[in-house]
Symmetry: C2
Subunit: 117 residues, 2 copies
């Protein structure tokens, strides 16, 4: 078993084009987790993740803050306790138009280990 | 895309032996998520999940409250923001010896869809 506080994992800057975003890979291949990975994202005010699409899904849980997610061509508001499922191949983006940071979990299946986002 | 607050999903009582536990399946097969599922558990004071082991892993994030998890034969304290990875076949149990409820995410890979816990 592994038990850590998520802040014990270093926050990295994603390789893809983004602004004010960090990611912590808190559970993944390094732990023997071969099916899916857990990441913790933080997005600063005025920050955003890449607008993209890819063959894998996202399972997201909003921990802190209020922001917006692009899905099905529209922006949707989200806040703490919200759950977001983005199916494979759907274009998506997260952005933070608020004055406070956003923190959320975003889990991806193993095929996404090879890519970013 | 699906975007809901986790409390919009009904809280169910798990089929396995447990006390004071509810689970909300917030992302799963019903959403087309074929690789892994997201569940939100709540454990009341003095409650506990089953002590068991199974062929699939757990990826856990503690949202609220302070409790204990059994892993590698010992009880470990946890609190908000903690991340727990329980590998396949490791005996485990969650319990709440505190005066306040615990809430945590517990994600499981697709093979666990057929079983409980």
């Amino acid at each position: 078993m592994k038990l850590i506080h998520h802040t014990q994992v270093p926050a990295e800057v994603p390789q893809e084009e983004a602004r004010g975003v960090t990611v912590r890979w808190v559970i993944g291949q390094q732990d023997g987790a071969l099916n899916f990975a857990m990441r913790v994202f933080e997005v600063e005010p005025n920050g955003y993740t890449p607008r993209h699409q890819h063959p894998w899904e996202h399972e997201v849980f909003i921990l802190e803050g209020h922001g917006q997610v692009l899905g099905e061509g529209k922006w949707h508001d989200f806040g703490p306790g919200d759950v977001i499922y983005i199916p494979p191949q759907e274009e998506h983006q997260f952005r933070n138009p608020s004055d406070w940071s956003i923190k959320f979990l975003c889990l991806v299946p193993a095929p996404a280990y090879c890519g970013a986002g």
